[in-house]
């Protein structure tokens, strides 16, 4: 408990110090609870998510960093490895390949990488996965782009 708090505090200071270091990630800690974080990440360029801003919710366990944080998308996203309804993310480093050397910041980076390189063979969103697996890249991209427009971009007008 004490160790996780100390470590999160370190990460908080690091985030404050290097706010501008990574313009694609904006990591914010909950005002009253250091175990709750939210992040805003920009969709990577040359993907259907380009131009969108996605919100992530972090729930950090007390055993952190020995156990991975629980991360989910708050913004709706059409991606084979993200559950369409709950926003749950299927990513090995958040499950069995976690390492205590990862930080919340680096988890965000890993999620951005996952957005750019979907893994359709272990899908949480079967419709999305099936589109990619059947080779309908264009179909997948237009669906993903549509949801990015709908959910991850500021409404016009």
């Amino acid at each position: 408990m004490q160790a996780s708090r100390a470590r999160l505090f370190k990460e908080y200071k690091e985030v404050q110090r290097e706010k501008t270091a990574d313009p694609d990630i904006q990591l914010v800690c909950d005002d009253s609870n250091i175990f709750k974080w939210t992040a805003l990440i920009k969709g990577p360029s040359e993907t259907p998510y380009e131009g969108g801003v996605f919100q992530l919710a972090f729930a950090v366990p007390e055993q952190y960093p020995l156990q991975p944080p629980q991360v989910r998308f708050l913004t709706k996203i059409f991606h084979p490895n993200v559950h369409f309804k709950t926003g749950e993310i299927c990513l090995d480093i958040l499950k069995n390949a976690w390492s205590p050397a990862w930080t919340l910041q680096s988890v965000c980076r890993a999620i951005i990488a996952l957005m750019a390189h979907p893994e359709p063979d272990s899908p949480l969103n079967c419709d999305s996965g099936n589109l990619l697996r059947s080779g309908d890249v264009r179909g997948f991209q237009s669906m993903a782009k549509m949801y990015t427009r709908l959910a991850a971009m500021p409404k016009k007008g």
Binding site: A3, K10, E14, P65, L66, Q67, N96, A97, S99, A101
Partner: protein, 370 residues
């Protein structure tokens, strides 16, 4: 001979005279704890004195085997003289009996409070030439002792500052290039060598410690050597890679519950940064900069463990799960070491495998009885 009384400088961890010291460098010998001021009649500390207040006559009973007893004890000076025979040879008797007796009360003004008790070396059986010289006028000892290597170097200069400068009756040692102090005896080559080696070792350790200060653990993100509790201020070295962690962090991670399908070998036992598999963690106070240094740390750690009895082996009555690769000592109660018998078996694929203990129960458990 005279090496009966424990050298008090040696007891404090640093005697500049090394093997040339006329006092004993053997922990088994008793320390000299008799107040010389009391011998002279007055000790300013009285009952608070940290030295023993016993009369000279009692001293004989303290150390009846002392060589001083060979000589008649008539006066103070004869006591002093008689013991000199044993330590430095007859040449010094005259010097001591003629000079040191009367000049005893003269204590240089700069000999502060802490030095006030120095003359405890003046004790009956073992006067120490260093202070003899300081108490006498300069030059006396120089003319008597002819062999330069017999003469001690000035301990004040060796500590960094001799208040007598050029007027000092003692040899000022040569400057040690490592520690920058005048502590190398010009005429004792072995001692110089020894000091240089020790000094360099110390210096190296200090530098390594300095470098290690900055190193952060990637698990707690703190500087390892600045952790709140002393027990945590240690590195945990992984055998297969060079990533630094606190010993507590890496041990916690390696022993944490492999929940949610974490694999022991690919996740927990791997380096959190590079995921290289290491089978053991080595604790170390300093971080290394070269592979040789790392190997040295690992070797000395294993060496240390080898001297500790394995709790699983339990002098032969237990069974150590680590078997022959255990770092701890496998010895029976009579001190006999465990004999390692490896059984090589030809496996079905033609390779040779090393068999562990084969027990009948292993076969029985696989049997299906109907």
């Amino acid at each position: 001979m005279s090496k009966r009384v424990l050298c008090k400088f040696f007891a404090h961890g640093a005697c500049l005279k090394g093997e040339h010291c006329e006092f004993s460098h053997d922990w088994k010998d008793p320390p000299n704890n008799i107040c010389t001021f009391y011998q002279k009649g007055v000790c300013a500390y009285g009952s608070r004195c940290r030295y023993d207040h016993v009369k000279a006559s009692c001293e004989q009973s303290y150390h009846p085997s002392s060589s001083a007893s060979l000589h008649p004890l008539n006066s103070d000076s004869s006591i002093l003289g008689s013991t000199r025979v044993t330590s430095n040879g007859a040449a010094t008797i005259t010097e001591l009996s003629s000079h040191s007796g009367p000049s005893l009360p003269i204590i240089p003004a700069w000999n502060g409070e802490s030095e006030f008790h120095v003359p405890d070396c003046f004790n009956a059986w073992n006067p120490e030439p260093v202070y003899q010289g300081f108490l006498q006028d300069s030059g006396v000892s120089e003319s008597r002792i002819t062999d330069a290597s017999e003469r001690p170097i000035c301990s004040f200069a060796a500590a960094g500052n001799c208040p007598r400068k050029e007027k000092c009756p003692f040899i000022h040692g040569d400057l040690c290039p490592t520690c920058g102090k005048q502590c190398l005896h010009p005429f004792r080559p072995e001692e110089r060598e020894e000091h240089m080696i020790n000094c360099q070792k110390k210096q190296k350790h200090l530098e390594a410690l300095k470098r290690s200060q900055e190193i952060e653990c990637s698990v707690c993100l703190e500087r390892v050597l600045s952790k709140p509790s002393v027990a945590e201020r240690k590195f945990g070295l992984l055998s297969e890679c060079d990533h630094p962690f606190c010993i507590s962090c890496i041990r916690n991670w390696r022993s944490s519950n492999p929940s949610s399908g974490m694999d022991l070998n690919t996740t927990l036992r791997a380096c959190p940064i590079c995921r290289k598999l290491s089978y053991f963690v080595i604790p170390s106070v300093i971080w290394y900069s070269t592979t040789e240094e790392k190997n040295e740390i690992i070797d000395s750690y294993k060496e240390k463990l080898k001297s500790i009895d394995c709790k699983h082996f339990d002098f032969g009555s237990g069974n150590c799960p680590f078997g022959t690769s255990c770092f701890y000592k496998h010895a029976y109660r009579d001190g006999r070491l465990e004999e390692v018998v490896l059984r090589h078996l030809g496996a079905a694929d033609g390779n040779t495998v090393i068999a562990k203990d084969v027990r009948l129960s292993d076969f029985l458990s696989n049997m299906h009885l109907r």
